[in-house]
Every structure is written in structure tokens, then in C-alpha cells.
Symmetry: C2
């Protein structure tokens, strides 16, 4: 099927990503027909905001929509797909690490619409600069998915499932692991009596720097020259946190290896 | 000595931090008398920008300035201090990890003015929001250093050398190690053929999130619930990078330990 300029959408899922995507599409005058969630309240809450109908049974999903966006946890995606009623509209999921082909047993027109970003329910997201990674079961479907992506963002890329998995893994380092380093920094600073907030300008600038320099060029700190004297003293300061010591050691070595290459 | 409202300054050092501090003070109408650097060109380059006199011999440093800011690498700080001529004005260094007392053998009025930020020569810095951490050899000196800090920023804290070292260590995690995770993410993404720049909105948002949420609340990803299935698959994907595998394993475990507490 060829997707219309203004396709109608049904959301399978009402979590952080579904909420942010639905709000954005609603703002851009895209009609959202239904919102499905197993939790009736979650479905109603989102549906109300965007003039859609809530439903909490998969059997209630109608065949009207042009595109069904599965914004679900990876762990339930396959099961929900297997229980979906027949629809004409195409199916896409939004997961970084799940293969496109999980839809294959149930559907001909399907694909992936993966936005590379971290979402929370409370913080509104501007999708226009977020890159979307697209995959489709055939050319026509991919064209349709691209139309959808273009409504949301100015940046989209075609990417197969294998490469998308690798992209997702790189995001685990750039986002999940980075955030954990913020947690550790907060833990270390707590022992000085200072608030975590004193670190915020540094965190902000560290992220801002790589918008202009490559991370290799932006790298600073004692590990760059592997200053054994400071490194040993800092490891000693972490003696009450053997886990942090291990992380410190490993990351310092890795920084040094990168610099030498 | 009590520092005047508009103290005069001499810079010992002409690197990234000296440059940024000097430019900022110059903008705020603070007179900078001399810039010292062992590299004549570096001293001249900075001095020219701020209407100061360059010098490349410590013996040429005059006693005129109210405050001498030692913005030098940790490794040379002590040696330079030991070779400084006598001055009346107070001495401060800008290092996170060096003790204040390294000045004690040479001077009565000395202290520390440590801005918590990452600096590069090319990227101009707005000091007004950067927290400064201050220490002084006595009350009067500390008052003087605080005056200086207030000219630069609206945020300053008194912090002794031991706590400053700990703060600096926490910054190694929040900045140096975080930047290295960006490098690793870039390395992983390179194998997909995508440019590093697709990660930039994610990096930006990850830093922005902790400006509102605590990093513990902001934490997402497979390690939060220690999803062994995804974790093993992702470790397998890193089989050509044993160092990244080790970092992945260690940070995932640490995230999980934090969540359980």
C-alpha cells in the first residue's frame, strides 16, 4: 500500500515513547485513531490528550489506520504482534535491538521506525532534530515509513536490523553508561557535602564539546598521558568503593590505548 | 593584604585555562599586568589579546600585581612556585588535585581558585555559571580570593584541599570518563557506516536529563533490570573488542547494583 500524505495512525503502547510520538503527530495534525494499552488508564490518559479512542483489548483494534506503531518493551513485542487482529495498514516497531522480521509470520507490510533518543514521560521532546532509522519489508512499505519519519523529523536513515542493533549498542555507551558515570560522580561528590548540582555545568560542557570536536580530540584528564602518580592516588581515594576502582582502572587504560593508536 | 575591588592580576601560565580566565577578566575591566609562559610565543599571544606584558623568564615577573594566578599543569606547579621572585600580592593556583600548601614554603598569603569545568583553547567559556572552589591560607587571603571569584562567577564555595581532590575525582568520572564513552560509542557506530553525529542529540539529551532528574531516576537501558538475554547478546556483539566487553560488563553490573540499593 502507498501511504497517504496525512496517514492515520493507531498506537500499540502508551509508554514514554508512544506518548511523545503521539503528542508530536497530534501537533502536526495527524489523526490518531486508537491507543492500545493493557492498562486501561494508560490508554485513556494518552488517548484523551490526542483525541483518540482508548482500548485495552487487542481484539478491539480496528482496521482503519494506515499505520500501526508498536511502541512497546522489547520483551512483549513479539507476543503482542502474534495476537494482533488482521489490519490492512502497515506495522512498524520502534525498537533499536529487535529485528524487523518478528512481524513476518503475521503480516506482509511491516518495518521499523527507530528514533535514537532517550525518553521520559515528563520531559517533552523535540523530534525534529532526532535521527530516525528506518527499515521496511519491501520498497513500498519503506516509502510509507519514510513519509511517516519525514512528518516527525528532518533526519532519517535506512538501516538494516543488524546495523540497527549495533547502533543501539553504541547508544548504550553514549547514554545508559554515561548516565551511570554521572551517578558514580554524584556518589563520590556526596562525601564532600557538596550538592550534585555543582557538576551540572561540567556535564553540560562535556556533552557540548563533542558537538564541535571529536571525542578523541576532546579527551582530557590524567589518563591521557597515563599519569601513574595521579592515577594511583585517585584509585587509593576510592578504596571504600572497589567497584568504582575497577571502573576507574579499566576506563583509564582504555583512554590511554585510544590515545596511543 | 586586603584585595581591592578591582585587583590587578598577573598570569603564570598561558594554556587553555589561563587564556579563558584572562579573557574573561579583561572583559570585566580587570587590569592584567603580565603573562608568563616558558614559551615566548604563548605568552605574547595571550598578552596581546588582553593588553598585558608577556614574559618568559620567572625573574622578569614584577611585584606590582595584587594577585598571581598560577594556571599551570599539576606536574610543574611546585617547581614554578619554588622559582618565583618575591611578590607582595597573593598567589593562587587553579588545580583540582594539588594541595594549597605547596605554596607554604615561599609565601604567607596564598590559596586556591579552582573552576570546575573542562576547557579548550578554541571554545569560549561563560564563567558566570561555573562553580569556583576556594581555599585560602588565612581569613584575609580567603576574602581576597572570594572577591576574585565573585568577579568571575556567581557561584563559589569554600572547600579544603582534601575535599577538592575528591571533587576533582568525581569530575574525572563526569567528564573525562564520560567523554571516553563517547569515543567508544563512536568506535562501535563506525562499523555501521553511520557518522558519529547521529549520536549527538542523544548525548545532548542524556546530559540535559540530569539537569532535572537525578541520574538514578534518569537511568534507562538493559542493565536496569539486568536483562541477561540482551546483555549477553550485546557482549557477544563486542567480540572483536575485549576491552569494550569488559567495560560493558562492569558498568552493567554497577548500574544493577545501584538500582537494587
Amino acid at each position: 500500500m502507498i501511504l497517504k500524505e496525512s496517514p492515520t495512525v493507531t498506537f500499540i503502547g502508551a509508554g514514554n515513547l508512544a506518548t511523545q510520538l503521539a503528542l508530536c503527530l497530534h501537533k502536526r495534525d495527524i489523526k490518531i485513531i486508537q491507543v492500545f494499552s493493557r492498562t486501561k488508564e494508560a490508554a485513556s490518559q494518552l488517548a484523551l490528550k490526542i483525541g483518540a479512542l482508548p482500548c485495552s483489548k487487542l481484539s478491539e483494534i480496528t482496521s482503519e489506520a494506515d499505520i500501526y506503531i508498536f511502541a512497546l518493551k522489547d520483551t512483549v513485542l513479539e507476543e503482542v504482534a502474534s495476537k494482533m487482529p488482521h489490519t490492512n495498514g502497515l506495522w512498524v516497531h520502534t525498537s533499536g535491538s529487535m529485528p524487523m522480521n518478528l512481524f513476518a509470520p503475521y503480516k506482509e507490510s511491516y518495518g521499523v521506525l527507530y528514533p535514537l533518543q532517550t525518553f521520559s514521560k515528563t520531559k517533552e521532546v523535540d523530534f525534529s532534530l532526532i535521527p530516525f532509522f528506518l527499515e521496511g519489508s519491501n520498497k513500498k512499505t519503506l516509502d510509507g515509513i519514510q513519509k511517516m519519519a519525514n512528518i516527525l523529523s528532518s533526519k532519517s536513515y535506512f538501516l538494516d536490523s543488524e546495523k540497527r542493533k549495533r547502533l543501539h549498542l553504541s547508544a548504550v555507551f553514549a547514554c545508559n553508561f554515561t548516565n551511570h558515570l554521572y551517578s558514580i560522580a554524584g556518589e563520590i561528590i556526596r562525601e564532600t557535602g557538596l550538592p550534585f548540582s555543582v557538576l551540572l555545568p561540567l556535564i553540560q560542557e562535556t556533552a557540548a564539546k563533542v558537538q564541535k570536536l571529536s571525542p578523541l580530540e576532546a579527551q582530557t584528564g590524567p589518563a591521557v598521558r597515563y599519569d601513574q602518580n595521579i592515577i594511583n592516588k585517585q584509585i587509593e581515594m576510592l578504596k571504600d568503593h572497589p567497584e568504582f576502582q575497577e571502573i576507574y582502572r579499566l576506563l583509564s587504560q582504555s583512554i590511554f590505548h585510544f590515545q596511543k593508536r
